[in-house]
């Protein structure tokens, strides 16, 4: 059984309209089982309204050595942050 088992990354949407958040991973042989295993492991306490599973090997990640080139240039660009606005009262999830 174990030779076919792949690792899947699990993303849970806690509420309609919110983004799916990465919560961890599961082992499974196929996509149906991946979804069911994710349900068993990560939504036992009523955490979710939707689950995504993605094969870990299908995720393309940036390399840590690229960190400088990828992220440092935004350090001094204050104007990219919406800090000049006042938040309307009562707005959530911004």
């Amino acid at each position: 059984m174990s030779e076919n088992r792949t690792v899947w990354e699990v993303f849970i949407q806690s509420k309609n309209g919110l983004a799916h958040k990465h919560v961890g991973n599961v082992h499974a042989e196929d996509k149906i089982m991946a979804l069911e295993n994710a349900r068993e492991l990560y939504t036992r306490r009523n955490e979710g309204s939707c689950i995504w599973v993605v094969k870990s090997k299908d995720i393309i990640s940036s390399e840590s050595e690229d960190g400088e080139a990828f992220f440092d240039p935004s350090n001094d660009k204050m104007y990219r942050h919406p800090t000049f606005y006042t938040m309307p009262e009562g707005s959530k999830y911004i």
């Binding site: 059984m1 082992h27 068993e40």
Partner: protein, 249 residues
Amino acid sequence: MNNELLTYTLRIADNSLILGQRMSEWCSKGPTLEEDIALSNISLDLFGQANGFYSYASQLDGNKSPDDLAFLRNEREFFNQQIVELENIDFGNTIVRNFLYDSYNFLFYSSLKNSKDDTLSALASKSLKEVKYHLRHSKNWLIRLGDGTEFSKEKVQKSLESIWQYTHDMFSMDEIDNKMYRLNIGVNNSNLKVEWDRIINETLIEAKLVRPKDGYNAKGGKNGMHTEHLGFLLAEMQFLQRAYPNAKW
């Protein structure tokens, strides 16, 4: 009427409790970590369902608590179907047993949901959501195992042949069943057979398994007649309450 309703409710509760206890035996022994949790979750669902039906039975009884009903009755006083007390043996065998039973249980609760008895109806609606998932779990695994390797196929086909004799009693109707059905409280079990056959046949085709021929019909669970397996299960489950009466967590 109260006595019959009590027995009827106990039958449902006992099915859930005994299968829940069987499934709990998988805890820490599942084939994988994920499956271990899945099987234990199913067990907990079933204990929850049993608790609901025992609470109602306790009310109807007026004397015994739900715990008394679970822990202080003997084999012959349990009214569960024999199929739920069968030993797990191995993962494939457990899946076959659960698939055959889950298919029935799904149809049973779907029908009990319309009961005139408000409590039974509410308990059925609540249980139905969980049982839908149990069926999905056992059905998907049966398809994987049947349409898996030669070895897995052979094993589940054998389990199917040996468990089949315990499926007939799911659809039987005795005096109590008939009376509850006439009062629009209980389910007409024999009416569930057509739909059960459809689920079973479709799934077996997809799983590339062969439907066993009907033969010997093991029956009597609902009247307290059991296989030799139930006594051992009860001995383990009831040990603490029997050895240390009224022990509390």
